[in-house]
């Protein structure tokens, strides 16, 4: 309540300050100014919609670097939470993304393809799309994020089942100097970053950056464990990460590399471990190198090529009851390389995209052992290859009609082959309006974790898994009556089949992955975006969705029927301050026991000053402003049916560029 009075007071102040004219140039003067002076005018830039770069005909949400600052986004999960029809579930270990009625807990986001500058982040062991603190790139280095809804396998292959998240990072020229950044936040959290970027006279650019994050976390209370330490997991929610990122671009070549490692303590005693044991923690790390080439081959054809190498490692320490406590170590090691060549042709009535992709997973190892007394429980070593070939043609039919047709064939040494089409009929009767009718299928090959992982007493393997599939129909209407107002409506019907779900086998009480039936998901989404010339922005959306298991007719768990979002950003005191306000409503969600996680409304506020002093930028954020107590549904590996989320928290961030 006091907070609201504060905001109202601030608004009143704004009105007073606005009475003083501080406009340096009136409109009429501008054309009379010499270019040197025009180049020194700071402009408000928020008055146009960013354009998508993704080739597929889909519904796309774009988060820009400006949005990341304005709304105080800390992770990709924060961004995903803010867009139409998406939600995030956190089990105090990993963040899980839900979209279009499907939000499988415990799936490591394997049905979402995550790309960084075109490089596939999903690892070849768990297919993880890391969107929490384990995402390998500092969010401050992101130029934009394109969140693409709907199946993308016709271009991108496996994992692009529910969509594609394409992260585009900054270039050296975006920094042009050194930037130091420091953050302080609730729950004993601090973060530091040092970045250097430069563009050389010859056009080459260099970006180097290092970050460190440490969070002590809070004691977590779980009534299910009241018998042990009164249900309190003490000092078991810490989160530490470090990451390094570099990019060098020369002419048509870009070399990008990164390394990251995150250590997370786990308070939930998942996987039947001992509650409140200080040893329970997981580490996830990855490294990558990606060499990109982009160039024009001829007047009508562009070529791009990638050559990449990646590594992923995971190490979990799981304490099990016994005297003394048995420490069990669960490890995974992945290493791969691959290449992709893509051609884009701009012909008279055709825009053609075609390419081939190859990936060699030369290491897909999983192991599990007890430390003392030593006992090796799993030592599974695998390797595999995949190849894909795809083509897409966007044909101008005339009268504002476009036909987009794409097809991709994938061959997996571990899981057979898959063919996935995509068809889009796009009609622009007038410039301001577009109707899109979309059809597509996508698949995800089972990964080595789902196929081969086994741990005595907890989980068993299932080498007979088949790929899971999705078939999607979608109708989209986009209307932009003015250049600064855009309205989108869409309706979809998705059917997923042969879903790979982790279930408990009643015969032996072990966790196992099974292809389990079919799910129908239906939904409608609405979104309106408005921009003002002075830089104010408003984006609001509503999504209704329902998903049911076809054979039983039962509604899926962790699937909210209603989602509503509002993002508003306002310049205050001229351009001195910018405020970002977010409201996110998530409807109640069914849990595994058939109970439900209550619906909740979250409010986040950020105030940003981009020029508190020369080169200095300061922002303050409050997340969950009204201290709403809410919980996310647990997964089969949890005793808890509900996992409580953070209450109100703060963050203060200072950037200094020199």
């Amino acid at each position: 309540m006091r907070m609201i009075v504060c905001i109202a007071l601030a608004m009143a102040l704004v009105r007073v300050a606005a009475a003083e004219p501080d406009e340096p140039y009136s409109q009429a003067d501008l054309t009379q100014l010499p270019i040197e002076e025009l180049m020194n005018i700071k402009v408000s830039t928020a008055s146009k919609f960013p354009q998508k770069t993704t080739e597929a005909p889909s519904s796309v949400s774009i988060i820009t670097a400006a949005d990341i600052k304005t709304y105080g986004y800390r992770t990709l999960a924060d961004m995903v939470r803010s867009v139409r029809g998406m939600s995030v579930t956190y089990d105090r270990n990993y963040d899980y993304l839900g979209t279009r009625g499907l939000g499988r807990t415990g799936d490591y986001n394997s049905r979402m393809l995550l790309l960084v500058d075109g490089y596939r982040i999903n690892d070849p062991i768990y297919d993880t799309a890391p969107i929490g603190t384990e995402f390998p790139v500092d969010v401050d280095l992101i130029e934009r994020v394109e969140i693409v809804r709907g199946p993308g396998s016709s271009i991108y292959g496996s994992n692009a089942v529910l969509g594609v998240i394409n992260v585009i990072t900054k270039l050296g020229k975006n920094f042009n100097g050194t930037e130091a950044s420091g953050e302080l936040a609730s729950f004993g959290t601090d973060k530091e970053r040092l970045s250097y970027g430069h563009q050389y006279e010859n056009g080459a650019g260099l970006l180097l950056s290092a970050s460190r994050y440490r969070s002590a976390g809070q004691d977590q209370y779980y009534p299910e464990f009241n018998a042990i330490n009164n249900g309190i997991a003490h000092n078991l929610d810490s989160d530490h990460y470090g990451n390094y990122f570099g990019k060098l671009n020369v002419a048509g070549f870009t070399l990008t590399g990164g390394y990251s490692k995150r250590d997370k303590a786990v308070p939930t005693a998942s996987f039947g471990t001992l509650f409140n044991d200080p040893n329970f923690s997981v580490s996830d790390g990855s490294s990558f190198m990606n060499l990109d080439y982009y160039g024009e081959m001829s007047q009508h054809w562009d070529a791009s090529a990638h050559l990449f190498q990646g590594r992923y490692f995971y190490d979990g320490i799981y304490p099990y009851a016994g005297a003394p406590v048995t420490l069990n170590r669960d490890q995974a090691n992945g290493a791969w390389w691959g290449t992709e060549v893509k051609l884009v042709g701009h012909l008279e009535k055709h825009k053609v995209v075609t390419g081939v992709e190859y990936q060699n997973n030369y290491r897909q190892d999983q192991s599990n052992f007890n430390v003392v007394p030593y006992a090796l429980l799993l030592d599974d070593r695998r390797n595999s290859k995949r190849e894909g070939v795809y083509a897409q043609d966007e044909i101008t039919l005339g009268n504002g009609l476009l036909l987009n047709a794409g097809l991709r064939y994938d061959q997996y040494s571990s899981a057979g082959s898959a063919t996935n089409p995509r068809l889009g009929l796009i009609w622009n009767p007038v410039d301001a309006t577009a109707f899109k009718l979309l059809y597509g299928t996508a698949f995800r090959a089972p990964n080595v974790y789902e196929l081969y992982y086994a741990s005595p007493g907890t989980q068993k393997a299932n080498p007979d898994l088949k790929p899971e599939k999705i078939t999607s129909y979608e109708f989209v209407v986009e209307h932009q009556p003015w250049r600064n107002l855009r309205i989108t409506a869409d309706a979809y019907a998705n059917t997923t089949s042969d879903n790979i779900n982790q279930v408990i086998d009643p015969a032996d009480n072990l966790l196992v992955f099974r292809n389990s039936g079919q799910v129908n998901a239906r939904g409608v989404e609405f979104e309106a975006e408005r921009l003002w010339d002075n830089g104010a922005q408003l984006r609001t959306s509503y999504a209704w969705q329902i998903s049911r298991d076809v054979s039983s007719g039962v509604e899926l768990i962790n699937s909210p029927r209603n989602l509503a979002k509002l993002n508003a950003s306002l310049p205050v005191l001229g351009n001195a301050l910018r405020t970002g306000l977010e409201l996110q409503y998530t409807d109640k969600r069914k849990t595994l026991t058939g109970a439900s996680a209550a619906g909740h409304l979250l409010t986040n506020v950020t105030v940003l000053s981009e020029k508190i002093a020369k080169g200095m930028e300061l922002s303050a954020s409050i997340y969950n402003l009204f201290d709403k107590h809410y919980a996310d549904p647990g997964a089969p590996e949890h005793i808890q049916d509900l996992i409580l989320q953070d209450g109100r928290s703060y963050r203060l961030k200072l950037n200094y560029r020199f």
Partner: protein, 185 residues
């Protein structure tokens, strides 16, 4: 409890409404497109045409192709003169072909058709301008970009030269020079 929640939501909405209202009285800096309109005026001053088609000999015909991002910002050019000629602002449509323009602004919405547009005006003396990343590398002569919220220009010299346009060195020394492949000039 429910009532209290509702109260909070209403208050939050009121704050937004009040804030949006207060925007109208704020003295805002010039918008991006007001400044870009002034840039177009200035760039034209620094450009020399070898010859121009008869229908644009006495006016400066500025065409916008694609979704016009300027809004009312181009109105500031009305009645302004360069070399004794006044601006005439027309959208590209069925009446005007891009070849019949003195200056052609290619909006970001046309990024998918850029190649066709540039092919279509080949051999003419149209000054092409854009404000989309990559446009200069793909053959647009003058392209605006933002650096630290200030408008900057990049010039594709080869593209201007091919059309026979000469851009004054006074302008070039303020611009970033790019060539077709984005590398060194």
């Amino acid at each position: 409890m429910a009532l209290k929640k509702l109260g909070k939501i209403i208050l939050a909405l009121l704050v937004i409404a009040c804030a949006i209202r207060s925007l109208n009285v704020l003295a805002a800096p010039p918008t991006e497109y007001e400044v870009k309109a002034a840039f177009i005026h200035n760039v034209t001053k620094y450009t020399e045409w070898p010859s121009v088609p008869a229908y644009t000999a006495n006016t400066l015909r500025l065409c916008v192709i694609g979704q016009n991002p300027f809004g009312i910002a181009l109105d500031t050019l009305k009645n302004k003169k360069v070399g004794g000629m006044v601006w005439e602002i027309v959208p590209v449509g069925s009446v005007t072909s891009p070849k019949e323009c003195r200056v052609l602004f290619i909006a970001v919405s046309e990024s998918g058709n850029l190649r066709q547009i540039l092919d279509g005006i080949k051999g003419s003396t149209v000054l092409t301008i854009g404000d989309t990343e990559g446009y200069a590398e793909q053959g647009v002569m003058v392209n605006f970009y933002l650096e630290d919220e200030m408008v900057r220009i990049e010039v594709n010299m080869d593209a201007a030269r091919r059309a026979g346009l000469s851009i004054s060195s006074q302008l070039l020394k303020l611009a970033r020079i790019v060539n077709q492949h984005g590398g060194m000039p």
